[in-house]
Structure formats: C-alpha cells, structure tokens
Amino acid sequence: MKKNGAQILIESLIKEGVDVIFGYPGGASLPIYDALYGAPLKHILVRHEQGAAHMADGYYRATGKTGVCLATSGPGATNLVTGIATAYMDSIPIIAITGQVATPLIGNDAFQEADITGITRPITKHNYLVKDVKDLAYTIKEAFYIASSGRPGPVLVDIPKDVQMAAAEFHYPEKISLRSYNPTYTGHQGQIKKLAEAIQKAEHPLIYAGGGVIISNAADELKELAEKTGIPVTTTLLGLGGFPETSPLSLGMLGMHGTRYANYAVIECDLLIGIGARFDDRVTGKISHFAPKATIAHIDIDPTSISKSVQVHIPIVGDVKNVLKELNKIVKKGNISGWVEKIEKWKKEYPLTYKQDKKIIKPQFVIEEISRITKGKAIIATEVGQNQMWTAQFYKFTKPRTLLSSGGLGTMGYGFPAAIGAKVGCPDMTVFDIAGDGSFQMNLQQLATAVQYKIAVKVAVLNNGFLGLVRQWQELFFEKRYSESRMMNPDFVKIAEAYGALGVNVTKPEEVAPAIEKAIKSPLPAVIDFHVAPEENVFPIVPAGSPLSEMMGGLA
C-alpha cells in the first residue's frame, strides 16, 4: 500500500523505536503534523524550537536513546541551529527534522524558506535534503545510523512539503551499509599492548576521562581499569559521572576550574591516559605547558581528535568500551604507591573550598545541599557560567548520564529544556536544572511546556543579579569595570506561578534544604529562586591561555 511522505516519516520513526518527538508545527510541516495526529508517538509541543533541539539532546544524554526534534521551514529551522550546534560540539546524536518549502519553490526566496542544509553543514555530522519521496525511508534509516554510530552527532533531514505529500511504497530497510563511512570500533591490539606496558612502567600515571566514556557506556570498564591499576582518575566536565566521585581514586574535574589536585597531577604525571576526551583548551590551558613530563596515550573513536592539539605518543583509535575491555584483560599494576600518597596529600592540602556564611546563601552551599538531598543520584542539568562550574565542583556525581551540560559550545539556556527532555525520558528520576538568573531567562518560556505536559523538573536559580562569570572575569581581568553584566530580574516566583508551576523564594541559608525538599515533593515543575551572594567567584581559576600551574584562588 502506498503512503505519503509524512506517513512514511512517522512509520520510519516508529521503526527506529522513537517514542517521543519535541517539536513545533508550521506551514511547511503541516502534512507531518497531520500524520502525527493519532499516531502512537508522543509529541511535546515546545515554546521555541531551540528548546526542542535541547530537549532531544537532554533526552539522549539521560537515556542513551537518539533524540528527535521537529521544526517547520525557515525560522523554525533556523531556531534549531543553536541546539544543533550544541549537540555537535558534545557529540550528541539527535535527529532534526525540518519542513522545507515545496521543491519547485526551493531557491526562489519563497515564504519561510531558508537553506537549512547549507546553514547546518558545519554543525551537523551529516545532513540531507530529501528531494524524492522514494528516498525518504532509506534516508531516515541512514540518518539514525550515522547519528548514533562512530563518534555520534546531530543529523538533519530537510523534507520539502511536496515530498511530504507525495506517495510511495513504504519499505523500511533492515540494515544499512555505506561504502564511505566505516567507523573503527576495535582498537589496534599492538597499541593496546603498548599502553599496557606503559602503564606498568609508569611511576606517576593519570587517567583523564571525557564524555566518550559516557557515550560509549564504558563507566564500568573505566572503573575496572582504575581499580585494577590504582591509577587516579580526573574527568572533564562532560566526563563527570563517568567515574564515581565517591571513589578515593577520583580527582574530580581538571582544567580551568578544575581541582588543584587534579591540575597538579596533570603537571606532575609521567603517563597521561586520555580516554574519550579531546584535549579542549578549557582542559589544557596553555598547550605547550600541558602535562610537560608525560607520555600521552589517547583512546578515541574519532581519529581527528588524536594529535589535534596535543601531540599523542600512544594513539588508539576505537570505541572506548571495546578498547578498555581489551586493555583490562592484559593490564598490570605498576609501582605507584609514592604517587598515590602524593596525590592524597594534595587532596588533603588543597580541597575545593568556599567560605560559608551564616546570613547570606552561598551558591556552592545550594549545590552541596542538592547533592546531599538527592544523594548524588538525580539528573542534573546546568546552564553555562558560574552555575555550571560550581555544579561540576560541588555536586558529587556517581553515575553516568546524570550530568547534562553544554561543554563544547557553552550554550546559555541549554539546561532547562535539556532537563525537560531528560525528565520525559526518565520520568521516575528527580531532575534538576541548576541555573543562573541570566541563563534561565534565555529559555524560561519552556515553563509552559513543562506545565502543559506535567514534566516536573526543578529549576534551582542561583540568583546573584549578575551574569556571574562575566562579572568575575571583569573583576579579575578588567579592573572591576562591570560593563553590562548586572541584571535587573523579574520575580521568578511570580513567573513560575503565572505559568502554573511552583515558585519558592529563598533568602536565608537555613531555608535552602527545606526549599529543595519542598520542590522535590511537589508534583509540579518548580522554580526555586535562591538569592545568593552576588559577588561570589568560582575558584580555582586558570586564566584563559595560561598554563595549569597558574591557578588562582580557592585556597583554604
């Protein structure tokens, strides 16, 4: 039986196991929305397409299942762009489906026309403009395959309106193979052996784990490697949760706002094992001074990540989980007791710290309280800025897929919609968005989405009346000239209530824990407005472009 393009699309999504789409209808996607009507697929109507892309992203990060977002042509499609770029930078598989003007109109500057495949070319893993309905099912199959395999990433499929309405036989391909795309999953045995030997010989080894550990579902294998060898583990922002911070081997995060002991360990190590991480500038600081004494090993599925910024001595291209499994079979513990003692000493001497206050709420305290009350088992989304860095420092992550944060692109406004996507995927989990007053206002209209679908996410606004990290940089590097970083804010409690969510106002430290508990207990989405110390800084900090050894602040 013949179906139209829109029906083929919906059937294909169902075949791919999609159970929810985040989207917003419009002229060029009406046939798709008509096919959705009554289909066994949940659709979440967002309030801005950027949120749809972030929700699909958050849904993936929390569940491991490819997220799907849907927008109309022109402005609908361009509104997805920030969300797609966010997913691209963090290797997150999402499928973005966009309506397009009918094929005869393409290129004519038609109403609501935008060349979205052209626009998204540098921020997608791949994209398609489907010009013939006969190609549609195959294209959807290919899109899901490309998005979720190898180093994952967003894939956009642009479907003109006449293609949505044209009829074709529906055959969904069972399998797919591409002559031009064959990711390497298995690591080279010789290289793995070389790494095992280097581990045994090393006196000061260090594991530096990134988001690849989580994407590859390799947290257990990483734990096994660390426990077998006794090698301490520091993680990137996106690696948090990939190794339990309750472990004595955990050094927390490294880099610009990393722990002192993690950065000292990087400076002193003689073997640095990068696992599913990409030696980003926020991690390395000044490249020429990064891990100066170390032999560098790097396990990554993406060959372009290897030796891109830092010269790697033992490269291993492959899926992190596969490589670690092989490595764990042959690896032996070296003699590193002196090194472990040294690190223990650093940990005692230079813990993460802040000055508690009896009258004013410290933002770090709020995060510690959320961490304590949720026992480190909630899903935590963050925005970008101080809220993000304090969360990385003070929330004790123990499980993979519990931190959702825009690491690469650094997208303010990411956290709240990402939290909604995560809660849709994991309805039984407590989901928090730890936000700043600036970031939250970038996408807070999604409160309407959360309320409409009873998606009970909790937003903890660390409200300091500033764009905190901008203000901090102005304080430290621009002589306290607070240019355009002060914000006059609305009453977030009233805003929450106007949308039909729970609003809680918190001004005193002793109110922090009860407010968190109240929000968690409420069946509603909730916004807690924590009025925190306005000029608190994130420490330590390595100034941008400086060596890690030039950490400032954060001493007890």
Binding site: T117, G118, R121, P122, K125, H126, L129, I146, L178, R179, S180, Y181, D302, P303, T304, S307, K308
Partner: protein, 158 residues
C-alpha cells in the same frame, strides 16, 4: 608547504560544498581544487592542493575522511605520481615581432595555439605546475590579457 591530496567522493550534489565548508571552517588554505567524474559515474575525483605544514596536513586528511560522503583520501605528497594542469592564456600580440617570438616560445613548451585574433592569441598548455608557471613567466612581458587554469589533477603511477 604544498601538498596534493586526491579524494574519491560520492557523486552527489552538495559534496563540494561540504568540502569547501570544511576548509573554510577549519582555516585550511586551498591552492587549487579540480573535480570530475571517474571511471565509475557514481564516484567523483577531487584533486586538492593545500598549503599547510605536516601537522596540519594530518588534520586535513583526517577531517576530509570524516566527511560522510568521502570514500577515500589519498595523500600524494612524496608519492610517485603523474601531475598535470591545463591553462589557457590570452597573450597580447599587437606587436608583430613579439608575435613570432611568442609562437617560438609556444613551440618550445609544446603549447598549442588554439585561437588567433588580430591583437591577441590564445595558447593552451598542459604540464606540471612548474612547466605552466615557467611559460607564464616568459609570456608575462608581452602582456597576459587573460588567464584560466584548471588546477592540478594527479594520479599515482602504480
């Protein structure tokens, strides 16, 4: 340093745009790029000359390979290969004495005169980049009115 890279790519619309987007986004400098169908009409061959150092070259090759529509990337740097470029040059021949000199140069370089007009002629030259460049240097004093170069195409000997 100049490096020659050959790419076998899916012969689909948009592939060239993907490659040029990649080069501009990553800040790689293209000297020339030539595209055409291969013996298999579903595959196009691109010959790209880039001006980058060794470290950057490794990135260029890896990044090209990462593009979904690229089937194969061959680095011809230092390889035993045949390289050719074609150029059309319109030279000023207003001066009769100059004209015969120009014809002589063409003969030495085995360049073909493909069109003659009262005050100009068009010459076609094929060869490696060095040969083409030498001819152009010799013709320049007479006045080059117009120049079109294909960019290099290349193939490994074995």
């Amino acid at each position: 340093m100049k490096h020659t890279i050959c790419c076998l790519v899916e012969n689909k619309f948009g592939v060239l745009a993907r490659i040029s987007t990649l080069f501009s986004a990553r800040g790689f400098n293209i000297d020339s790029l030539a595209v055409g169908e291969t013996e298999d009409p579903s595959i196009s061959r691109m010959t790209i000359v880039v001006n980058v150092d060794e470290k950057m070259l490794e990135q260029v090759i890896k990044q090209l390979h990462k593009l979904i529509d690229i089937i194969k990337v061959i680095d011809l740097t230092g390889a035993d290969s045949v390289e050719r470029e074609l150029a059309l040059v319109k030279v000023n021949t207003a001066d009769a004495a100059a004209k015969s000199e120009i014809m002589q140069i063409a003969e030495i370089f085995r360049a073909k005169v493909v069109d003659v007009a009262p005050k100009t002629l068009i010459m076609e030259i094929t060869g490696d980049a060095k040969k083409v460049q030498t001819l152009l240097d010799l013709l320049r004093p007479f006045g080059i009115k117009e120049l079109a170069r294909t960019g290099k195409i290349a193939m490994q000997r074995r």
